[in-house]
């Protein structure tokens, strides 16, 4: 019972995450969807804790639950969307959506198949206990990996994010200039 506890907790958390993820897309009210998404994020963060990756869990909470979801909520509230004013999608849009979603599903299935194939020897031994022994997720080890083995991709991503930020600032500025000329 005790040895299997991580397994039970994992299935419980996975159930919560999937349940709330389904609620995100079925909820009528956009605000409710946002809040369900926050809960999904928390369930995923708890899964990281189960893998002994506390830093990742905390970052998940800060970045997604704390910042991104707050901005989502913020935007949705600002637009004051509600069930009535939601635009009805045309059939073409729905068809495109189905194709994109299906492709994504295919991609995920392929990735899952590959990862299961890679992890076969690990999966055959006691499944959920292996991660508990590893210290990979601890912040020191993560720091070493990020700044030693993956320093180039890490810096490249930071440049990508910087360029996105500058882009956002430029877009924000442009609007202001237009406004002033309209005045």
């Amino acid at each position: 019972m005790i040895a299997n506890l991580p397994n039970y907790i994992f299935f419980f958390l996975a159930f919560i995450a999937i349940f709330f993820a389904i609620m995100v897309i079925t909820a009528k009210n956009p605000i409710h969807s946002c809040l369900y998404l926050v809960l999904t994020m928390f369930a995923i963060a708890a899964n990281y804790v189960l893998l002994n990756a506390q830093f990742l869990a905390i970052v998940q909470m800060i970045v997604y639950a704390g910042a991104i979801m707050v901005l989502f909520l913020f935007t949705v509230m600002l637009l004051n969307l509600n069930a009535d004013s939601e635009p009805v999608k045309s059939n073409l849009m729905k068809f495109a959506g189905v194709i994109v979603g299906g492709t994504l599903l295919l991609l995920f299935t392929a990735a899952l198949r590959k990862s299961i194939g890679d992890a076969e020897p690990v999966m055959n031994s006691i499944p959920m206990q292996i991660p508990n022994h590893s210290n990979v997720g601890l912040i020191q080890n993560l720091g070493w990996v990020l700044f030693k083995d993956y320093v180039f991709p890490f810096e490249a991503i930071s440049i990508l994010i910087l360029s996105a930020m500058i882009g956002a600032v430029v877009l924000g500025k442009k609007e202001k200039v237009q406004l002033s000329t309209n005045d």
Binding site: I31, V59, M77
Partner: protein, 358 residues
């Protein structure tokens, strides 16, 4: 010598003798829960009366002076009043979210209690990423405010919630950078390690100039994060009646109020831990005799003394500065505090590498 950690150890031993290991864990969790809840209640009572007395003192008034000796029981009387008042839910409100929001606010503040070291060897959860945990959980508190503001179905509430969202999300960055500067100097995210690193002097003395800058940034950021004047745009009585909790009454309002005051306590406790050494007594380098004398003052007194000093500072701000406008508030953060914080973090890093601190 009497200390809180001795009492905790004694309780642990006594339970260990009389019950099995599983029951000891259960009992200790219950005791910890009761302690946290009672600390909440006591803090609420003390901080409210403290705020009223401090504001009265600053405005040369008497403040509450009828209930109890010198009016000290006023906040207890107010609590009873709030408890027996009817808690209304407006008709157009989203009932579930409206009622959930105050509890979420309280739960978030309770979770924040976990990694705080109240005295030597006395904390609920010695987490190896304590500092990050605090910033992660405190970032959730804004969701309760947004929830309350939106679910009230009131334009003042919504406006207050929006302001609060913008404010907390942006000032979190500055608070995080200020916290990071101490993490860089200590090399650890663990609260206990941070406190131990201050055994030969608090960081505010050891780290001199760059740490002073981050301390000031931290003070400004936490004042904004807890929605207190001069950054109380989220409630701004004169513009938005009461902001996000306009529609709340009775105990639900009291829970928001309590959460706000406890949050002030928590952020001040974090500030005291990072910059003023937490429970660490006032030590100067290698003056063994002096340090030994300082050790006679109990560590819990040091912790609460420093924390209440910071709380007093924040109350002082409230009665000193006029409220900012929302654009001034965001300008202050994004155009001044954030760049200064980033450059300061670089300075602190250079200082930590070159060992310029004492």
């Amino acid at each position: 010598m009497w200390s809180i950690s001795n009492i905790a150890n004694w309780v642990n031993e006594w339970l260990g003798k009389n019950f099995s290991a599983a029951w000891v864990t259960v009992f200790e969790m219950v005791i910890a829960g009761i302690l946290v809840i009672s600390l909440f209640a006591v803090l609420g009572l003390i901080l409210v009366i403290m705020e009223r007395k401090v504001s009265a003192w600053m405005q040369i008034r008497l403040g509450p002076n009828r209930v109890g000796p010198k009016g000290l029981l006023q906040s207890a009387a107010d609590t009873v009043k709030l408890l027996v008042k009817e808690a209304m839910t407006p008709n157009g409100a989203d009932k579930f979210l409206f009622n959930l929001a105050p509890y979420l606010a309280i739960v978030v503040s309770m979770l924040l209690m976990a990694p705080i070291a109240f005295a030597k060897d006395f904390m609920l959860w010695d987490l190896n990423i304590g500092v990050l945990y605090v910033s992660a959980i405190s970032s959730v508190s804004v969701i309760s405010i947004l929830m309350a503001g939106w679910a009230s179905n009131n334009k003042y509430s919504l406006m207050g919630a929006m302001r609060s969202g913008a404010q907390i999300v942006s000032y979190e960055l500055s608070a995080g950078l200020a916290i990071l500067s101490i993490v860089v100097l200590t090399g650890s995210l663990n609260m206990n390690d941070i406190i131990r690193s201050q055994a030969d002097g608090w960081w505010i003395f050891k780290g001199h100039f760059p740490v002073w800058i981050s301390f000031i940034i931290f003070l400004i950021a936490i004042t904004a994060e807890t929605n207190r004047a001069p950054f109380d745009l989220a409630e701004a009585e004169s513009e938005l009646t009461a902001g996000f909790h306009t529609e709340y009454s009775g105990m639900k309002f009291a829970l928001f109020f309590l959460a706000e005051y406890v949050n002030v306590f928590i952020v001040c406790a974090i500030g005291a831990t990072l910059f003023l050494g937490g429970w660490m007594p006032f030590h100067i380098g290698h003056w063994e005799g002096f340090n030994h004398i300082m050790d006679f003052i109990p560590s819990s007194l040091w912790f609460f003394g420093k924390t209440f000093f910071l709380i007093f500072l924040i109350m002082w701000f409230r009665w000193t500065f006029p409220r900012l406008r929302i654009d001034q508030l965001l300008n202050l953060e994004w155009k001044y505090l954030l760049p200064i914080g980033m450059i300061n973090l670089l300075l602190v890093t250079a200082m930590a590498i070159l060992k310029w601190h004492f």
